[in-house]
Every structure is written in structure tokens, then in C-alpha cells.
Symmetry: C2
Subunit: 318 residues, 2 copies
Amino acid sequence: MADEERARTLAELGEFAVIDRLVVGRRHPATVLVGPGDDAAVLTAADGRTVVSTDMLVEGRHFRLDWSTPHDVGRKAIAQNAADVEAMGATATAFVVAFGAPGTTPADDVARLSDGMWDEAARFGATIVGGDLVAAPQWVVSVTALGDLAGLPPVTVAGARPGDVVAVVGDLGRSAAGYWLWRNEIRGHDELRERHLVPSVPYGQGRAAAEAGATAMTDVSDGLLADLGHVADASHVGIDLSRALLGADHDAVVAAAAATGGDPWALVLGGGEDHALVATFPAEIPDGWRRIGVVVDGPSRVLVDGAVPAGDTGWQSY
Amino acid sequence: MADEERARTLAELGEFAVIDRLVVGRRHPATVLVGPGDDAAVLTAADGRTVVSTDMLVEGRHFRLDWSTPHDVGRKAIAQNAADVEAMGATATAFVVAFGAPGTTPADDVARLSDGMWDEAARFGATIVGGDLVAAPQWVVSVTALGDLAGLPPVTVAGARPGDVVAVVGDLGRSAAGYWLWRNEIRGHDELRERHLVPSVPYGQGRAAAEAGATAMTDVSDGLLADLGHVADASHVGIDLSRALLGADHDAVVAAAAATGGDPWALVLGGGEDHALVATFPAEIPDGWRRIGVVVDGPSRVLVDGAVPAGDTGWQSY
């Protein structure tokens, strides 16, 4: 494509020319029976089941284009949806993407968003199999992930039992620490600031947890206390976390918390968007996971060192 | 739920209380192995394949809340996604919905949107298995439909062959006629105005076409000429439509066209959003379909009575 064409806007190029550019040259595995360009995609569902989850990201609410590059936004949108699929004990295999943006948006920026999606999906062998491109007053990225359980039972939020170990894999508090660094315009702490823009999802660990017999699992999207609260409610159990076992997470954000005037424990216990996986196990935990607490008898609640924690308990959309 | 609670806004109730209200009491078929409330839904895919398609509707661009009720918007969002699945020869079985709206939105309006989705999905036995609710400056409804091919091969846009019959089932031009009635504030023609708000998708006819051996199929979302243009391009064929065979469609919109100063043929040939199904058949067409033209040798193009039509050829997002 000629340089002058690359710089043009969505309105100048038109929907179909932009879509053609996003789709051309992309390769799909043989499990994609019909890919982009038709009314719908058709995928194999090898074990006779399909896992499906959807998330919407709105500019100004879930990302800022003065902090994130379009590539970052694409990676984040795929990562957080893939994490939902991982949290069922599955692997994300394919995505469809609906994208809204103003007509003045450079087509190059949309290409970079798409590249970010493809780059993130490639980390676990998935592809983008379809989508929609529409006019909207601001960027809106809505992603639906499909996943494969490979014959295993799904790991829901409802199966935790008293006596189970609570364990986590992936980051806690890093995204929230990065957020406050960005908000306060504090440089340095590059990894934390990057983590806020693109979470580091522990791909493959959802299936590892399922294979290890996890009784319940979720991803940390709204904050550890809030997300484990869903597990406690659905499983009718209590969950008791240990600050001592979360010491490494505390230490990873303590400097950033000091720089931004925040509480490191609020970041670790209340910070969302890292998309770590947290699960309950009746016995051994998989390699790479770390034990952070235990499941106790109800009532449904999440304790820290045996007590109800004070303070903010996590993200809600409103 | 108490009356005073029903009238409250999304911001007042919070994300999780609103979601609880949308989910409570809904029933799912046994094919929904895990429904709403977990990180992802899990569905059976009986024939080992999944059909998937996504569309985004943005307030002010794809619907207006001074024309449509929230219930209408919900029905339309489901209908147009289901039509994409039908156009593969499949039946839509489940949906996930991402919804963005301002915090000032009454929770009742969101409940009505959800009811519209459930009502439309119930027409063909499908349910809403998951979703996301986020803050956005205006309403954004992003729906992903999953579908079942029931063992049949998918009907793509690429299989039309010279000599095939072109046939359609469902409305043509009605949604566009209704749009111009709304735009010109012309009362009467109630059915056309209603059709613009909620398309009448010929559910079940996608599978009927597949069973009848359709060689190519699409739904009329952007306009008959535009959508058949995709079939012509993908199949490397010409398509020749007959005004005489489209006479009933012309007659259905001629009065509305006169009232709004429009051309009835522009409505029939260029009007989108009715989500009729148009397909090519090597022999017999299914009951309820009507023949509107023939497939001819390439070059790829759509003709009307043997000639290239003048005028607007359909909707693009930009």
C-alpha cells in the first residue's frame, strides 16, 4: 500500500477498504473452517463444547490514547478476554472483534490496534476470525473470545470447598500501581507502568489448574478481594488470605505506592486488571503458582489474616 | 425489587446489582453447560463446530432513542446478529452481549433492552449466556452470536455458479422506507416504520436454504446490490437481477417512497438493514423464497435487467 494511502482516515478509505487491509495476509490454523470475510466464521469445537466470553473497552474509561498506543490497546483487549477463558480452565482459540471509532481516525492507528490483537493472540496460538467496524464518537473495542476445554470439565467459581488451598499465578497490584504512576505523571517504574497498559496474563495456567484438579477459579480483573468475593459467594465458603504469603506482591509495589502516596496492600488486595489467575485446589498446586490462603467454612466472605479487611474492595463499572 | 429501586440509575445501583437483575430468573436450555455469572459461558457444540459473528450498534449511528424503545434496540441487536448466522446456513443458539451506557441511564431502560434481546432470541430458541456492562458516553451494544450448523456444510459467499437461481426470503427496502418516513416525520405506514426499528428476520430459512443445496448465501444488511456484490466478488460470477421479479418489493414501498420523495427502486436495491436472506441455488428453491435473478458468467458484478444500475449501491460505516 502506498504511503499516502496508509496515512488516510477511516472516513477517507471507507469501511471495506480498511477491513481488507486488516484481513489481508493473516494466516489461520486448520481449526478455522471459515475465516474473516463471510457473514460469520466457522470454527471446529473439537471436544463438542465452546467456551465464550465478552468484554468491552471504552476510550477514556478503560484506556487513554495519550497513555496507550493503539498496539497496547489491542493487546490489552485480547489479553483480558483470554484471561476469562483461562479462568474456566480453557485455552482461548479464536476472537471476534467489534471496533467503533470516529471517521477521522487514521487507518494506520486501526492497523496498529489490529496488529496488537494479533501479536497478543499469537502468544497462545489464537487468531482473529471476524469482526465489525463502525463509526462511533470515541474508540470502543468489544472482543469476544472463544475457547477450548480439551475434554476437561470447566472450572467454575462455585466449586471451592473448606480445606482447599487458595493459590495465584501472575501479577497482583502491578496494574493498579502503574495506574497511579501514570496519573501522578511519575516516570521510572517502567515495568509497572507498562503492566497497566498491557497485563501479563499467565497463558496456559488455566488449563494447568484444571489438570491439577482446581475446584474453583477466576481471573483478577476487579481486584483480588472482589474477585475472590465472587468465588466465596458462589461456593458458599469463606476465604482467608495471608499477608505473609502475599509478601512478594507487596514488595513489588511498595516503592511505587510510596511514590504515589498509596497503600501497597490496597494495590495488592484491591487492584484489578492484572488478570492473574486465582484458584482453589484440594491438594497440590501446579508449578509456578503460589499459595496465598485457605478456604474455610462459610459465611461467604473474604478475610485477610482472619479479619474482614477495611477499605476499597475493587472496581465496578459505575 | 421495590419500585424505588427499579427507577434508579446504573450509577446508583452499580454494575453487579444491575447484572444480577438482568440474569435472575432466566432459563437456559441444557445445551448451556455454564451460563451467566462465571468468567465465561460454556456451550455444547453438538456437531463439533461453532459459527460466530459479531456486530456493534452505536447510539445515534445505528439507532436513536427518540425513535426506538430500549426493547426495540435489544430486538434489533439480536436480530441482525442472528441473521448473520442464518446466512451461513446455521441457527443462532446463544449470544453474549457487551453493553456500554452512561451512569445516568435508568436501570429500567437496561432491563427493557435485555428483555428485547431475550424476546427476540426466544423466537428461535436461543438465550443470552453472558455479557459485560460498562460505562460509556452513549449507548453501545455489541452482540456476538454463536450458531449451530447441525452437521450441514456452511454456506459461504463464495460458492455461486453460473446458471444458479438467485432467490430471496424476507423483506427488501422496508427498513430504508421506514427510515425516510421517520426522518421526514411522516406518520402512517406503521409497518414500515416498525420494520426500520426491528427487522423481521426469516428465522429458520438459513438452514432451509442449506438443506436445499444453496451454493452461496448472505443477509441483506448493507443493501441488495452491495451484499450481492460480495457474493459476486467472492464467487467470481456476475449476478443479473430482474425488476419484474422484484415487483412485489417495489409495490410494498412505492407509497412510502412517494410520500418521502424517494425512488422505490433505490429502496429495494440499495436499502439495507432488513436482513432478508439472499442465496443462490442450483435447482429448486425452498418454500417461501422468491426468485429474483440468475447467476451469470463473470466479471464479478451485479446487474439489473442486464445493465449496471445507477445510483447508491449501499451502506458503508464511513
